[in-house]
């Protein structure tokens, strides 16, 4: 496959994932009873890191298919791992996120987690990049 096309597609996916991570953080911030500031920090840190990686990918000049895959895998792990962090920490009772809000945040986190896993496997298949970078 054309590395430029792969680059564009992966960059788009990652920009979207970064946006969704920001949304999850904001949703947790809005629905938490206490320690709300933690989620603002988490939203900014996670999304910025994923966006930085997508920027790195889009700025990769004359990269081979494999190199595009390597950078995409690095960002893919970031987004998958941060989703896992959200999914496992948001239900903590100290934050007081309950009911529909909790279900929504968890649903987006788990969807991002599964989407991340799928993205990684797909990048591996399309570019031959190793998952253990």
């Amino acid at each position: 496959m054309n590395p430029e096309e792969l680059k564009r597609r992966y960059t788009t996916y990652k920009a979207l994932a970064g946006l969704l991570l920001f949304v999850v953080g904001l949703a947790a911030f809005a629905s938490a009873d206490s320690y709300r500031s933690h989620f603002i920090v988490a939203a900014v840190v996670t999304s910025v890191l994923v966006w930085l990686n997508s920027l790195r990918l889009s700025n990769c000049r004359n990269c081979s298919e494999r190199r595009v895959g390597e950078i995409a895998v690095q960002g893919g792990w970031l987004w998958t791992s941060f989703s896992l962090a959200y999914a496992s920490i948001v239900p903590a009772k100290i934050y007081g996120i309950e009911g529909a809000a909790l279900a929504l945040v968890e649903a987006i986190s788990v969807a991002l987690l599964l989407g991340g896993a799928y993205f990684l496997l797909r990048v591996k298949k399309e570019t031959g990049a190793a998952l253990t970078i």
């Binding site: 962090a85 920490i89 970078i133």
Partner: protein
């Protein structure tokens, strides 16, 4: 470059990778990795609960300020040491034990390999298995299967089993855990400090058995000195010589203090507890299980792998899987014994870290002295890329006595001096003694024309 692509050592002969993972050969060019790749590998090693518990054990001896300073200074010292050792690996593309052949001789490198990886990594397996029990006990305190000694027993056997069947997929777990780890732990720490009385109470808290800052620094260095000494094992895969050493420096200076301080400060605020139990109490049991079980499992599996590889390199006639089984069973027994003796008390971990900080740093000192001082200034080998030669037919000393003596005397002083003067950090003493003694003895030997090698060893086709 052509030789590298074939996976050949420096003298140009193509060689089969007999032991796997280029354990005794130069890493070929196509296997080399970037700075970021290596940073992730190093962070994967660091993101384990053992590091948090390591920080927690400092709270028995240091106050909040002491934990902060010891963590930062100890981490910077580790960063500098590993940058220097790591650079040797990235210039030469060979593992620690192969590098040590030049400074300690062939038998010295085998002995150092056994001490660094064969014994230390096996003991890390035991300690991390015990900590696996401590974590599970914190999440399920009422369950029989989560009693520390019971969980350590079945956890150790399970981890050994995955190491035995060589399920490499476990390595991917590290990549899943690392970023999550550095999001979850700071969040949990911030919430815990707030719940336990805030920053004022934290900085007013006193440790039960106050000790000097030097002991804390020695402990921090000891906690990861094995990693710093064997940094060439990973940095040998560097694309550019600076990549791996810089990745090591960044991960230890910027990330290790976060983990140590998280464990230490919380322990100081809630003595007798630990971050895993506190997180469970705050309703973060799922996060503890995710980071604890997956992270611990993937790292500990690797400890056993490294230990078995060191023993295979020392006694190649015994298969690697036999070593995994033997070390796994022995490590599990030790883990259960620690659990029965110490329960969830972290004193055992402090003693272990201090012990490692005594016997390992002199090896790093000898390695650094040989590459950066002895070879260029005494033996006239200026070019860092050709300073050492490896490959079939290369002649090494069987024993290079200045290196061995530097290690032995450095270890003895690192053990003895802190017992007499508590303010002296043993790890630093050991490192500098090894470095200075090796340099002086080699200088004496060269100037007085006294042979510095006893016997000789010619490298075979397998790199042995």
């Amino acid at each position: 470059m052509g030789e590298d692509e074939k996976g050949a050592p420096r003298n140009g002969q193509e060689v089969k990778d007999y032991y796997g993972d280029y354990a005794t050969l130069r890493v070929p060019e196509h296997e080399k990795r970037t700075f970021l790749n290596q940073l992730m590998v190093f962070l994967g090693v660091l993101a384990v609960w053992a590091a948090v518990f390591g920080g927690a054990s400092m709270a028995n001896y240091l106050d909040a300020r002491g934990i902060l300073i010891a963590s930062i200074l100890g981490s910077i010292a580790l960063g500098v040491i590993a940058f220097l050792t790591g650079l040797i690996g990235s210039y030469n593309g060979v593992s620690t034990y192969v590098i040590l052949r030049h400074s300690m001789g062939r038998f010295g490198s085998i002995a150092a390999g056994i001490v660094i990886s064969g014994i230390s990594a096996a003991l890390w397996f035991a300690f991390e298995t015990w900590l696996f029990g401590v974590i599970l006990n914190g999440v399920f305190p009422e369950s029989f299967l989560a009693r520390v000694e019971v969980a350590a027993a079945w956890g150790g056997i399970l981890m050994m089993t995955t190491a035995l069947i060589g399920y490499r997929g476990l390595a991917a777990l590290s990549y899943l855990i690392v970023p999550a780890w550095f999001l979850i732990i700071p969040l949990a720490l911030a919430a815990s400090i707030s719940l336990k009385g805030g920053w004022d109470r934290l900085f007013a808290a006193t440790p039960p058995e106050p000790a000097g800052l030097a002991a804390g620094i020695t402990f921090v260095i000891g906690l990861y000195i094995v990693g710093a000494t064997i940094a060439p094992d990973i940095t040998r895969f560097s694309r550019r010589p600076i990549d791996g050493p810089l990745a090591w420096f960044v991960h230890v200076v910027f990330f290790m203090p976060i983990i140590l301080i998280a464990g230490g400060w919380l322990q100081l605020l809630a003595p007798g507890s630990n971050l895993a139990a506190e997180m469970t109490a705050m309703g973060m049991g799922l996060a503890v299980l995710v980071t604890g079980i997956l992270g611990q499992w993937s790292t500990n599996d690797n400890n056993l792998y490294s230990a078995s590889l060191a023993w295979v390199n020392a006694v190649p006639k015994v298969k690697r899987w036999v070593w995994v089984a033997v070390l796994g069973v022995a490590g599990t027994i030790v883990a259960v014994a620690i659990a029965l003796g110490y329960g969830i008390s972290l004193e055992a971990l402090f003693a272990f870290g201090t012990l490692l900080g005594t016997f390992i740093p002199p090896i790093a000192g000898v390695m650094i002295a040989d590459y950066y001082i002895v070879q260029p200034l005494l033996l006239g080998r200026r070019d860092p890329r050709t300073r050492y030669s490896f490959g079939p037919g290369t002649v090494y000393g069987a024993i290079r006595w200045p290196g061995i003596l530097g290690w032995a005397v450095g270890s003895a002083l690192a053990y003895w001096l802190p017992q007499q003067y508590a303010q002296i950090p043993g790890a630093v003493v050991g490192l500098f003694t090894g470095l200075i003694l090796h340099t002086l003895l080699m200088a004496l030997s060269v100037k007085a024309r006294i042979p510095y090698d006893v016997g000789k060893w010619v490298e075979t086709e397998t790199g042995w």
